[in-house]
Amino acid sequence: MSDDHARTARELIVRMCANPEGGHLGGSMSMVEILVTLYRHVLRIDPRRPQAPDRDILLLSKGHGAIGLYAVLAERGFFPVELLASYGTPDSMFTAHPNPAVPGVEMPTGSLGHGLPLGVGFALAARLDGSDRRCFVVLGDGELQEGSVWEAAMAAGAQGLDRLVAIVDRNGLQISGDTEETLGLEPLGDRWRSFGWTVLEVDGHEPDRLRTALSRIPYTPGRPTVLLARTVKGKGLPYIEGQARSHYVRLTERGHRRARAALMRGERTETTCPS
């Protein structure tokens, strides 16, 4: 089931990248299973009532993955899929970074390093309210080079915000290439643990494992949880997977046909996540 949702979302992402403006393809494709799992199985949300006061919160801190979020929101029924056709056209609400005018988008993000501080704020508010609302923040791995992420990580650990969950889309790549060759993040799990977080590691393209990990929040009472999801940048398009050049792509008509064909063959493609 979940595979169908993911494939539909990927088709929508690819279609947006075939717009003359192109789009952030690689980092949108890498987090599809993460977002589909959240919106299908984890988040307490109602697509018909996107502002319901008791909803869970999802913040896409790696805001350049907006087309991935739009695709999953559309697929989940927050708005008609057809609306996505306006992406890349003048005055479209589907901006290249998340626009809160789009049903289901909580906050505008995209300057990296803003999502986790916001998430700490949502989590503190929920605690003051006595609410069991949870807040999930999806971060890029390159984004973890921003210092504000660690200010927030420290605050969340100190405050013991166990309903705050960070999910790192650990695709291992940033614009210039390997994160470890640019500004290394490892040992990433140890870093989060030392900030007071419980660390889970999972294959970010395995819906069942993602679901199992995310269904147990709060995972450790009194501690925030980070899920390090090992993923592949550009996942679903074998000829571009795991390559930094998948970061921003403008697909020609021919390129779009090729991408769609690759997604159709998707279940036969085997890829390995970086360990």
């Binding site: 501080p117 704020g121 949502f122 508010a125 929920a126 210092g147 605050a155 100190a158």
Partner: protein, 321 residues
């Protein structure tokens, strides 16, 4: 120029605006559950008894970017956070979070910034804030308030607390005298007239600039020069009517502020006059385009950088020459 080696005494009734603010904030947190106090280890609240509001005081440590983002998340969840830091850290270090997380979303966060202008004195340029009014007033949705004394602080904190959207409140550090005892509570966006006059209008913001303007106007009156004084406690939204009246009703405007000359109150006033097309000269008393000259206490630095009655007097006399 003689060197001032010690700060002159201030009158007994003088109180530091930040202490007035703190006391009002304790009352506000006790009155309304929506209010939250977010501290960045300023020390201002070390001895504070919060009573009812104790759960809603959070010291988030020395991390101003996170501070602003957390405030936005709380505000988006229905709370009204008072965020506490020094003016320069709010306006520069944490600016992107203020711009994107707070201002863009038009969230009711109250950024209370102490050590405005040169009030950090001998702590030096790391702690002076000579850019904050320019930075904050250029942000869409932001209200920018600068109380000039204790009573003004109380009325602007209360008015700012209830205002929609984000508010930046600039406070100083030390005690300053009450300027208009018994005055009506200030209204956001409405300049306070402290003196009527027909020759030149002084428009000032902040404790020392307003005090300087009032004292200088009294001195000039003894020479038969009739100078009006406006306390422009709201830098944004600016009281355009008051500025238009000054531009059309007097022969010139002199602005006084503890801020760099670029972008602050003087620039804001000049923009209004330019838009009006009035043939009214505007002279700015502000810190020149350099990091503050000299070292030492607040009052010394004000004098050393020309934020003084002598500078104001010189401008007024030239305008009337």
């Amino acid at each position: 120029m003689s060197v001032v080696t010690a700060e002159p005494p201030v009158p007994d009734e003088a109180r530091a605006a930040r202490e007035v603010y703190r006391d009002v904030l304790v009352e506000l947190l006790g009155e309304d559950e929506r209010y939250v106090c977010l501290d960045s280890d300023t020390g201002l609240f070390s001895a504070t008894s919060w009573g009812e509001g104790a759960r809603r005081y959070l010291n988030l440590g020395i991390a101003e970017q996170n501070l602003m983002g957390v405030a936005a998340g709380l505000a988006r969840s229905g709370r009204i956070p008072f965020v506490n830091t020094m003016a320069t850290f709010a306006a520069t270090r944490a600016l992107e979070a203020v711009k994107l997380d707070i201002a863009w979303n038009d969230l009711p966060v109250r950024i209370v910034a102490t050590h405005g202008g040169l009030s950090a004195g001998h702590l030096g340029s790391t702690h002076h804030a000579l850019e904050d009014l320019a930075v904050m007033r250029m942000l869409p949705n932001m209200t920018v308030l600068v109380p000039a004394d204790g009573p003004a602080t109380e009325s602007l904190v209360r008015a700012g607390a209830e205002r929609p959207g984000p508010v930046y409140l600039r406070l100083g550090r030390g005690a300053t005298p009450s300027l208009a005892p018994g005055a009506e509570p200030l209204r956001i966006g409405v300049a306070q007239s402290l003196r009527r006059g027909s020759d030149v209008t002084l428009i000032a913001t902040g404790p020392h600039p307003v005090l300087t303007a009032v004292e200088t106007a009294e001195e000039l009156a003894r020479d038969g020069i009739d100078v009006a004084v406006l306390n422009m406690h709201t830098v944004k939204p600016l009281d355009r009517e008051a500025i238009v009246a000054a531009a059309t009703g007097t022969r010139g405007i002199v602005t006084v502020e503890e801020h760099w000359a670029a972008g602050g109150l003087g620039s804001a006033v000049a923009e209004v006059v330019a838009d009006l097309g009035a043939a009214c000269p505007v002279r700015r008393v502000a810190v020149a385009d350099r990091f503050a000259a000299g070292t030492g206490g607040h009052r010394h630095l004000l004098a050393r950088n020309g934020i003084s009655g002598a500078t104001v007097t010189e401008h007024v006399r030239r305008l009337l020459a």
